[in-house]
């Protein structure tokens, strides 16, 4: 008989050796209005280990959401394949919690109901009281408990986003896919959401794999183990993957003074911004 501890060790071993998410040679094309096709991303290879936090960064419209959606199963690759925990992705599943870029809340349900229905659907075996507790815990985490009876139409953009975050977290998925999750938040709320995200990740013994799309270089560095920088589309590819070798736990105030921070910050900036000074723009 395998004891629980042994079992845990076995799982850890397996996790160390295998990738959690594996994007193999993925190309995604869309049919355009006419008869043509538009290739958003091309020949993408990306392996993400269990428990890693990876950010995808790139200019608007380069295909970040498209790449994310191929992992979530919302979009089928035209060629290539995506596997999650060894299984080929053929559609969305509750092992992957998604925060959509446009929040995707159901407008006829309150904040509480939006989260509850997801929990009720995924965590079927839990009792009603347990589900209620999970929902309220997650709403509290995003500071929305006092707004739980509001409809999405009565919420600000940031509040909608936090509801979507609570919903994805509440089903406790092994993979979290966050598409610009903090985009609509003010700087203060954003900061506390970063901390909450890492708290949850720590609570889950850093076993949860997180993939996040962002525009924000500081955010990417603070949160991630690696940052995937994408080229501009069409036929966008991965430009470079930058490792963030900053020890955890990271302190937002302190890490900005580290040489490693400045190095990766400069690097990401120069990868993303072509014209670094105004002179270049004027005299080019």
């Amino acid at each position: 008989m395998i004891t629980e501890l042994e079992n845990e060790i076995l799982i850890e071993k397996k996790a160390e050796t295998s990738n959690c998410i594996s994007v193999k040679n993925v190309t995604i094309s869309f049919k355009t209005n006419g008869k043509g096709t538009f290739t958003a991303v091309k020949d993408i290879d990306l392996d993400i280990k269990k428990g890693e936090i990876v950010s995808i960064i790139g200019h608007s419209g380069c295909g970040k959401s498209t790449l994310m959606n191929s992992i979530s199963g919302m979009v089928k690759p035209t060629s290539g394949e995506v596997t999650v925990n060894g299984n080929k992705v053929t559609g969305p599943g509750p092992d992957r919690g998604i925060v959509f870029q446009n929040y995707s809340l159901l407008p006829w349900m309150t904040v509480y109901r939006n989260v509850y229905e997801a929990v009720d659907s995924v965590l079927k075996d839990k009792s009603a009281a347990e589900k209620k507790e999970i929902v309220e815990y997650n709403l509290k985490m995003v500071n929305l408990l006092q707004h739980k009876d509001k409809l999405p139409s009565q919420l600000s953009g940031g509040m909608k986003q936090r509801t979507a975050i609570a919903r994805a977290f509440a089903i406790n998925p092994s993979v979290l896919l966050l598409d610009e999750p903090f985009g609509a938040l003010d700087a203060l709320t954003k900061g506390s959401m970063h901390v909450e995200l890492l708290k949850i990740w720590n609570l889950n013994k850093r076993q949860q794999t997180i993939v996040m799309v962002t525009h924000d270089i500081e955010e990417a560095i603070f949160l991630s183990d690696r940052v995937v920088v994408m080229n501009d589309g069409p036929e966008a590819t991965i430009r470079e993957i930058v490792n963030i070798n900053i020890a955890r736990p990271r302190n937002k105030k302190d890490i900005v003074h580290l040489p490693e921070y400045m190095k990766v910050h400069d690097k990401l900036l120069s990868l993303l911004v072509k014209n670094l000074s105004i002179d270049d723009v004027i005299f080019e």
Partner: protein
């Protein structure tokens, strides 16, 4: 606090009264031109008033008060409308949910929808062996189309955003139907029902003229045979006002279920 008589309700009452005044003017004019062959509002009113004095008298099968006539018509309409809707809503959902069913059934609907209720009547008689069943049948079959089409449209236009929620969080088929499909399609379904009740109320008069018995349509026919144009005009007014009330009721439902911000 909202006062019951807001300016808006006051305006709509004023407009309604204005409309009725126009009706009375045209009516009086027509009556004058035909030299009272068509009775005017005042002559009609005295007959109408007599009818309303004792609406529920019952002097045997061919002589019943207007209230009894109206009530039996409303019951029939509700039966036909209810049966039609019970068929139309699930079928509409099926069509809206699958391109295959939509493509398969759409031509059938296009062919059957324009058929007059009068044309269905003999088939109803044959099938139900009774005029009562036939009347309900023609109401059902002619009033189900707006509900069917609107339901199918509502279900087929559910945005991907909403569908994605169901997919991402593994909603069961039942949860998808009750938490996403129906809430989204409900305003469309109610629009369909509102159109359908209008059709049903129009068809009842024709149906009852053919079937005889009791009912507002039969009452019109009977008054024609008794050469009481005042009664016919009174019945027309009653039919109009009941139709208006039915429409207002479904309009109220529509407003109640039209949630804000459908984006």
């Amino acid at each position: 606090m909202k006062s019951i008589f807001s300016l808006k309700t006051l305006y709509s009452i004023v407009y309604f009264v204005g409309s009725m005044v126009i009706l009375l003017l045209i009516w009086s004019l027509v009556s004058a031109i035909t030299k009272n062959e068509i009775p005017g509002p005042i002559a009609t009113w005295s007959v109408f008033f007599e009818m309303l004095k004792d609406p529920f008298y019952d002097y045997g099968p061919n002589d019943k008060g207007i209230g009894i006539q109206l009530w039996s018509s409303i019951k029939r309409v509700m039966m036909g409308f209810g049966l039609g809707s019970l068929l139309a809503i699930p079928l509409g959902m099926l069509m809206g949910g699958s391109k295959f069913t939509m493509n398969l059934l759409n031509p059938l609907i296009q062919v059957l929808r324009p058929v007059s209720p009068l044309a269905w009547f003999p088939l109803g008689l044959l099938a139900f062996k009774a005029s009562e069943g036939a009347t309900i049948f023609i109401i059902a079959i002619t009033s189900l189309w707006p509900t069917l089409i609107n339901t199918a449209f509502g279900v087929s236009s559910i945005p991907d955003d909403h569908k994605n929620v169901g997919k991402a969080f593994g909603f069961s088929r039942w949860k998808y139907i009750t938490k996403i499909l129906i809430p989204f399609a409900l305003p469309h379904i109610i629009t369909g029902l509102r159109l359908a009740i209008g059709v049903a109320w129009m068809v009842i008069v024709a149906g009852e003229m053919l079937s005889g018995g009791v009912g507002i349509g039969f009452f019109v026919w009977d008054s024609w045979n008794g050469l009481s144009l005042e009664k016919i005009l009174s019945a027309i007014l009653i039919i109009g006002f009941v139709g208006l009330l039915l429409d207002k009721f479904f309009n109220g439902l529509q407003n109640y279920f039209a949630y804000e911000n459908k984006k």
